[in-house]
Symmetry: C2
Subunit: 339 residues, 2 copies
Amino acid sequence: MKQPDATRLVDVAAAAGVSLATASRAMTGGTGVSDELAEHVRAIAERLGYVPNLHARGLAGGLVSSIGLVVHEIGDPYFAEIASGVLHRASLAGQSVQITHADRDPRSELTQVNALMMQRVGSIIIAGSGYTDPALEAPLGDALAQYRTRGGRVAVIGRHHLDVDAVLPDNHAAGVSVATHLTGLGHRRIGVIAGPLGLNTVSDRLDGLRSVFDSTGVHVTVVSHSFTREGGIDGTNALLDRGSPVTAMVALNDAMALGVLRALRQRGMRVPEDVSVAGFDDIAVVSDVAPALTTARIPMAEMGAQAVALILRAEADEPRRISMGHELIVRASTAAPPD
Amino acid sequence: MKQPDATRLVDVAAAAGVSLATASRAMTGGTGVSDELAEHVRAIAERLGYVPNLHARGLAGGLVSSIGLVVHEIGDPYFAEIASGVLHRASLAGQSVQITHADRDPRSELTQVNALMMQRVGSIIIAGSGYTDPALEAPLGDALAQYRTRGGRVAVIGRHHLDVDAVLPDNHAAGVSVATHLTGLGHRRIGVIAGPLGLNTVSDRLDGLRSVFDSTGVHVTVVSHSFTREGGIDGTNALLDRGSPVTAMVALNDAMALGVLRALRQRGMRVPEDVSVAGFDDIAVVSDVAPALTTARIPMAEMGAQAVALILRAEADEPRRISMGHELIVRASTAAPPD
DNA sequence: CTGAAAGCGCTTACAG
DNA sequence: CTGAAAGCGCTTACAG
């Protein structure tokens, strides 16, 4: 367990002929050392292959420079792409990233955040939707508030009832875009395959859709299932079994849209001839499915990168909000309704 | 930065009426405490909301219980699925996971591993292919050897020239399965869209294919491009522009296969009527593309979980090898060649 | 600008 | 089985 050979800061200090304190200041870029001396110390450190012990650093100073990223499930392309953006941006800043699964459960989220805090990570990024019910986020909010008083930095991706820096996806507007596209094509009976209505992501996208549908006299049927490919299959079957005649279906994320496509195929319904299908996110694969999916692109990797940018800056008086745009990507899965 | 309120182990010890040493033993499950006393201490700790400071622990004891996972790119479904398996299994064991990008570059890999070591993570899992050239892995091997003498645990996923525990995907056999499937269908002119030939994953799969093709008198054309969807597109165009008439194409991973499908579509060639296509991995999406892809399934998530299982066990005298199976998933993208 | 010293919160020999 | 004490490698007031 011991590493008698590891060179420590004292060794560097001795070799450089300075005190431990000075060596420390030189290495951490702290103020109060002449540039030449600092340069000298760093050269010695380099030559000796000095590697700082982050645990000692963490113990002595408090929080350590690393990021805790809480995702729903890293195997989900939506989160994998966010994580990719986080990792790239973090590595530029020399910060390490620890990833944990929250399984889209408020309690689990709290558990993970507590674990991250106990590890003294310097910042925490929570990716994944907030909940429409503020009460569900209250415990998390308390934990985070306490963490922030200790100097911890926090950023969330998505709309939360949390008083922290946030990167906001354009969910409502994306809903409007998708709805406008569909109504513009002439659809008047539309089915919406939603995820859990308690998620802000779902709620915001749905509201965006509805704002257009309602003012266009579109007949909307909404079914809510799990926010996954399986949920898309179940939702489609539920909707169709119910006998609701629709000419278009909107899945509230691409994972569900993939399920919709699959269910439709199994039922022998053609897309877009019999029914149009649209999704949200533009995860990498949806341009390769058949037919290629029309979807509202959310810049996942960029959101991850922006979240890192937020936590890298000092906390402001007011929580910062970075709004991201979206882009409607029209592909082959949507067309005018059948006559 | 300070947290004057955090309850420390001394506080727990005081409240429990025992010494710091005893409290420590009780909390870490160390031997040498009566069960009752240990139980008592833990109850007090629980009540006080005691959370151990891992940095103090790491400083005092050496390595800390957390896992460093090195992947090529977390946005790539292959690695995202491996990571998912790692995260699930690790959370069961109460270990945190830190993920870093290595960008499929030996030097970057070494840099990442060094960073992980300097953070005193207790174990390191390297996912991603090894290199056919042993020299490329030598520096990494040295770093890892040193790390292991300090008590660090190491496991790799995939074949490496590294003397450590390994989870081995069934690449050669998977190649045999794909080749057998294709020759069985009657294909005699086959194109292989390979990734970099210096990667063991590529080399092993190719060898597997060749062992069958060679003994069946199949005419094989191999092109090598980047191990991505783009590489699949480029490879397909290169192969076809060269005028090599093939009735089937094998991409050495599903990402490339997606590119092949796309390139073929753009050229107006039908799959499988004009040309059959097969891949490797069975990443989640390939069952949804059109036509659904025939592929050799590699159990990514399971490999990740197995790697964690390996590092959780103490090091053995001889490196352990866990061989994973594969499964040929025949879907719509392969059929008999056109007459 | 530089140094001596205290302290961060644990674990682990070393003694009983 | 239990305790007193040293030590892990840093950072940061506190002095000069």
